[in-house]
Amino acid sequence: MDACRRRLVKSAAILAVDGLVSSRWRAFGGDPGFTAAKNGPKVIVLTCGGIRRAETFQEGGLENIPRLYRELLPQSIFYPFVRNEGVTSHYNTISSILTGNWQRVDDWGKTPPASPTIFELLRKRMQMPSDDAWLISSNKALSSQIGASSVREFGRRYGANVIFPKQLLINAVVNAATQGRVLHMAERSTMQQEIEAMLESNNYEGLGWSSSGETSTLDEKTHATVLQAIDDLIRTNAPVTGDEFTFLVSVEVMRRFAPSLMVITFSDMEVAHFGSYSMHVSGIRTVDRLAYELWNEIQVNQAYKDKTTLFILPEFGRDLDGSNTNGFFNHRQNDDSTRLAWMMCLGAAAKPAGVIERPIQHIDLCNTIGGIFGVMTANVSGKVLSEIRL
């Protein structure tokens, strides 16, 4: 992505977060303390959609992940064998990671996870404020239900803020297309009106977001600047990636809220469902770059430096070439190619660096994060990864 477009996406991300900050400021009665950096440990989980080991940590795949392999791997605890034994769909996998139990709920996020998420467990036990737990996702298969379980003692009041930055952009595109005004999209003022109308008719809930300090509209200044950034973005002759936008929003959330637990999910590589291998690989390379930039942000952000543990893992792999599920297009096959992923753990709780060849599971992450915060979690199937501790 060229510098100009990057700057424009960044402006859009900052301004989207501005909208949240101002609304939350009001929701918290103007208490400036709610954005103060917390002193405890921080955990960031970066997951991404399906990528096969063959395209990443195997010979022939390393060229797609130069930063993960050369820069981050040497300083990490690396688990090469992470098994997804659950339903290899996005909503069920993320729910399983968050709850430490294999979830078998509606694939399209119609129902919440059936057991408490790590957000709820931490927020309830540690009395964390609501701005201390975030889930920021590119993935269209998720819904705001992912942030809290259906368990009565927990639920939304202990859940995470859930936002889908990419959905803001998708809604703008889809709205313009379905309203049949697309012929005017070249005119920047008209395009601005399209997006502005969409934003005004969809509050955060309408975008699929769930934020405790929710407000129904963005302020005028935010509107105008976001639209300007998007309009400028349209004028460039290259694709904009949803994960880039999700990343930039995540960084702004870190800077403004400094949450103790943040989960980010990327999905550019899921273009594989449409059968373009080159675009799928491009999505993997984007994750490689953004994971590295996230790590660098952690190093320079005083609220995160030296106290943050970063987990990076794919949700699952993808199907084998020659499978009756059409190979890399999908992630449905009961095979190691689909079920086996890897995990990299960096930072405060990941010392000393090393490769742990013992097979682990995605559901082990929940209890491990609980351990970093000193919270013991009951009724969680996943184990604590003994190598990860403060």
């Binding site: 595109v173 889809v174 002759n237 059968g275 373009s276």
Partner: protein
């Protein structure tokens, strides 16, 4: 007594109407989760390919050949699993495969056991009905894949993709001549259309031309041959655009999605079909099902070629399949984010070709077609050629009995075509 046809299932003709009532009775004897796909096939009998009809009839005859005790023994474990899975309380459609059915099954903790049992039952019944499959069905099968001249194929990537399965040969002169020879033949050598048509049981599902653009279909139009299944991604554009617009109205809700998909199957798309496939009801239905099954067939031309070829192999088991890839456009700003939208409608910017990445996609997807064929016994020992017109090379996976003498010497297109016709005549 067997209430349905008793003929060898390999010889049942397409005109023959089965005893649907008896068939439905056979399906009723099966566990609930086996019924939707069989009922759906029966309901779509008119648009099934001959291979599918034969296979369905063979399978249902296989059920009827089992005594009640034998069928119970075979399906007992699956029925018990269905109880554990609580299928009785699902909103489970028995009349057709639905997204909701698939979602319920895949989410069940018993899903893998269920799949194992289903596979076991199908294999047991198939074994009873296919033991008399004729060996000549495997003879002379052909898969030809063209990577046209505008795809900048990397010389090394061909070997990397195809590995040690075959050999690379150099083509002397203009390799595009091979494409024309395959479709149209030459004065002293008929095209593969004519060669196949000479076969007694030939029907238009035995030969497929699948095209990203219109290289194959244009050549075909220069012949007077029309008895083939010919699909072109570019020719389908009006239909694709309208179909995609409708598909994009599907909400994030499985029940609603199933409702809309059913409606789309029943919609009259007549005005949007290209004239080339006018009156070809079965081929149109194939395309509708193809687009409803995803896999990028509506979005990218090369994904269309791969998925259409894979589905043709699965459903029709053609004697010959000829596919030609093409170049896709670069995603435009924002359309990269909402990639399921129609790029041309969303952005007024001019399309810009992306030959390099199209070549990467096509190389992989060409091999996927060959891999798809490998899943079916009919293609054991099929002749497969993947031709790069840019490099003037072909990668050839040839059956041992062809005894091809491959050397470093460049081979004339007419000589390669000679190999093909000899193989088909074998």
């Amino acid at each position: 007594m067997n209430p349905v046809m008793t003929r060898d299932h390999n010889t049942i003709g397409t005109a023959e109407a089965p005893d649907f009532t008896a068939f439905r009775g056979s399906i009723e004897r099966l566990p609930v989760t086996l019924r939707p796909s069989l009922n759906q096939q029966l309901a779509q009998w008119e648009t099934l390919f001959p291979f599918e009809r034969n296979h369905l009839v063979g399978f249902l005859n296989g059920i009827e050949s089992l005594s009640p005790a034998a069928l119970n023994a075979l399906t007992e474990r699956l029925r018990a699993l269905e109880v554990k899975m609580d299928v009785g309380h699902w909103n489970f459609s028995e009349s057709s495969d639905t997204l909701e059915n698939a979602g319920e099954l895949a989410r069940s903790e018993y899903y893998l056991e269920w799949r194992h049992e289903v596979q076991k039952i199908f294999e047991a019944i198939d074994t009873r009905t296919t033991s008399n499959a004729k060996s000549e069905l495997r003879r002379g099968r052909l898969i030809i894949l063209f990577l046209p001249e505008n795809l900048p194929i990397d010389l090394n990537s061909i070997g990397r993709e195809w590995g040690s399965h075959g050999h690379e040969i150099k083509i002397a002169g203009d390799s595009r001549k091979l494409r024309d020879l395959v479709v149209m033949g030459q004065p002293d050598q008929p095209g593969i259309c004519e060669l196949l048509k000479e076969r007694e049981s030939y029907n238009d599902a035995d030969l497929w031309f699948i095209d990203a653009d219109s290289r194959l279909t244009d050549a075909l139009a220069r012949t007077d041959f029309s008895e083939a299944s010919s699909l072109s991604y570019s020719d389908l554009k009006p239909f694709r655009d309208n179909f995609l617009a409708e598909l994009n109205t599907i909400p994030k809700d499985m029940t609603a999605a199933d409702r809309i998909i059913l409606k789309m199957r029943q919609t009259d798309w007549n005005r949007w079909w290209p004239s080339k496939i006018a009156g070809q009801e079965r081929l149109r239905d194939f395309v509708v099902n193809l687009f409803l099954s995803g896999n990028g067939a509506l979005i990218f031309s090369n994904a269309f070629v791969e998925w259409a070829a894979s589905e043709a192999l699965r459903r029709a088991r053609p004697h010959a399949i000829v596919a030609c890839f093409g170049v896709r456009s670069k995603p435009k700003p924002f359309t990269g984010i909402a990639i399921f939208e129609n790029q041309e409608k969303i952005s007024p910017m001019h399309d810009e070709d992306d030959p390099e990445n199209s070549a990467v996609d096509a190389m992989i997807l060409a091999r996927y077609i060959w891999l798809a064929a490998q899943r079916y016994k009919e293609y054991d020992g099929a002749l497969c050629l993947c031709v790069s017109e840019r490099l003037n090379t072909a990668y050839i996976v040839a059956p041992l009995e062809m005894n091809l003498e491959i050397s470093d010497r460049a081979v004339e297109p007419k000589d390669i075509y000679g190999w093909i016709t000899s193989w088909m005549a074998s």
